[in-house]
């Protein structure tokens, strides 16, 4: 008995009999399930949209209160003149009882600044001169007090510095570079659809959207596909150097529903991929930073293990906002380009190699 003979016999017996049991469930229950699928699809879609909008609003709300002059990149003299120290002097100046004391004390910040920055000395001297002028304090009294001040010892000056510990601390908080941080986030990418062109002597797997094809054959047959919104979840580590450059690496899992039209149904795809790259913070202050990064990524379809590894290049521009002492919220639009591999495999990612996504998440600074 040759292969075809026994194959046909078996096939004929199994498929053409009439003793098959009817399905246990009714059509009504199937229909109810279909309605719930439709509802779930709508809910997921709008949940994603609402999450993205909420995150964007939260980001804007977080950055607005901090839109003050907090840049650490400003000129040293200006930074000193705008420092909280000067602000305190301005406040105290308005209290009459304290004004005289301040007129004496105005030397203290001036002296502190004198060995740091000449511009700051000028700025603070102006403040003290204004005070003296406004309050009509006798010039000789001021001179006497200043003379007395010049006799103060170095240790006394040192102790004065201890009067401003909170200011020293605040200044140190401003510089948050040279740090390691860990990120936890998710990304929402664009949906796509199009046509896959297959060679005549090709085999394609509709579930994975993969086609094993002979590139030399004419690409006449084609199938339409639809790739639902891919969603990613990932963890990353980022190390920022003192000059604002940073290294970033991580791993992400991406899932999406792929439908190949015309003949087949679809399937849920899961990709897992490590990524690594470099970037730079082009703006940064204590509570906000804006950056751009270029990363490379390798995606492997773990739900269909025979699919090829997909290398891609990502370009992202992101912003992050401080939420707490170590936590940041980041939002990161990203453009991804998937490279076509050299083997004879076609995949939906090659049809539309560019993909836009928005990543949202939290970073925790060590």
């Amino acid at each position: 008995m040759n292969v075809n003979e026994w194959k046909n016999k078996l096939k004929d017996k199994v498929e053409n009999g009439d003793s098959l049991p009817a399905p246990g469930m009714s059509w009504d229950s199937l229909e109810a399930g279909m309605a719930s699928i439709e509802r779930r699809r709508v809910v997921w879609k709008w949940t994603g949209v609402a999450t993205a909008i909420a995150a964007a609003i939260a980001g804007i709300a977080l950055v607005l209160p901090w839109a003050g002059p907090q840049s650490i990149e400003t000129a040293p003299g200006i930074a000193e003149a705008d420092s909280p120290k000067t602000e305190i002097i301005e406040i105290v100046k308005d209290i009459p009882a304290a004004s005289n004391l301040l007129a004496v004390a105005d030397i203290r910040p001036t002296k502190r600044a004198s060995h740091t920055n000449p511009a700051a000395v000028v700025a603070e001297d102006n403040v003290s001169n204004d005070i003296v002028h406004d309050e009509n304090i006798d010039e000789e009294d001021v001179k006497a007090e200043q003379t007395e001040e010049t006799h103060r010892t170095e240790s006394e000056v040192y102790n004065e510095n201890a009067l401003w510990p909170e200011l020293e601390q605040e200044e140190s908080i401003k510089v948050k570079r040279g740090r390691l941080s860990f990120g936890l986030g998710s990304g929402f990418a664009t949906a796509s659809d199009g046509d896959l062109h297959f060679g005549e002597h090709s085999y394609y797997d509709p579930i994975a959207g993969v086609c094993f094809t002979d590139p030399s054959t004419p690409s006449t047959p084609k199938r339409s596909y639809k790739l639902d919104f891919p969603v990613s979840f990932g963890v990353s580590a980022k190390y920022t150097f003192n000059n604002g450059l940073f290294l970033i690496g991580g791993i992400s899992a991406t899932t999406c529903h792929c439908v190949i039209f015309d003949e087949f149904n679809g399937g849920q795809l899961w990709y897992l991929g490590p990524s690594a790259g470099v970037g730079v913070n082009f703006y940064q202050n204590a509570n906000f930073s804006a950056y751009t990064a270029a990363t490379g990524q390798l995606d492997w379809c773990v739900s269909h293990y025979y699919t090829p590894i997909l290398p891609s290049a990502n370009l992202s521009a992101g912003v992050q906002f401080r939420l707490g002492s170590i936590s940041w919220l980041f939002a990161e639009p990203q453009l991804k380009y998937t490279f076509k591999s050299e083997n004879s495999t076609t995949i939906v990612s090659f049809d539309k190699p560019f993909q836009f996504s928005v990543n949202l998440g939290l970073r925790f600074e060590l």
Binding site: A22, M25, V259, I260, S303
Partner: protein, 164 residues
């Protein structure tokens, strides 16, 4: 389209359920696969461009097979499909398929080991070549051939035992 699916369900429900039944020894799992298959059909309904009942049946049948394969892949059962040499004796005579009733034969196929059962189903009932099966399941062509022959031998053994 929903109406057409309903008609197909009433007309071919039993045959489509039998397709799922061949891929799993558990009737409840087969019914789950059947239901999932119809859900997938509903999701992809807009993509179906056929007009005849036969085309609709073929489309639904393909969906059922893919749904069953997805379940099998999820469990990663075939991942250990090693390229082992076939040891069992391959029956070369009539093993008596026609003497067994349809239900029993389907049950026998469904109780074969998962990788043998899957290869047999794809080779016999879906008319795929061993090369296509190998690509679909992520195994080698040689492993597919071996598994098909082993499945054939096991099925013959089951029939012999049943007839005793």
């Amino acid at each position: 389209m929903k109406q057409r699916l309903k008609e197909a369900y009433e007309e071919h429900g039993a045959q489509l359920l039998a397709v799922c039944r061949r891929y799993t020894p558990n009737m409840q799992t087969a019914e789950d696969m059947f239901q999932d298959g119809f859900m997938s059909a509903f999701k992809a309904a807009q993509s179906f461009k056929g007009t005849s009942e036969a085309e609709l049946y073929t489309w639904l049948r393909t969906i059922m097979v893919n749904t069953c394969l997805m379940r099998i892949r999820k469990k990663d059962i075939l991942k250990d499909a090693a390229d082992v040499a076939f040891q069992a004796e391959v029956p070369d005579d009539d093993v008596g398929y026609e003497r067994i009733d349809q239900q029993t034969l389907i049950e026998m196929i469904s109780t074969l080991p998962v990788s043998e059962r899957t290869v047999l189903n794809l080779f016999v009932f879906e008319d795929l070549s061993h090369k296509e099966i190998a690509q679909k399941l992520g195994i080698t062509e040689k492993a597919s051939i071996n598994k098909m022959y082993r499945a054939k031998a096991m099925l013959a053994e089951k029939i012999r035992n049943y007839e005793r």
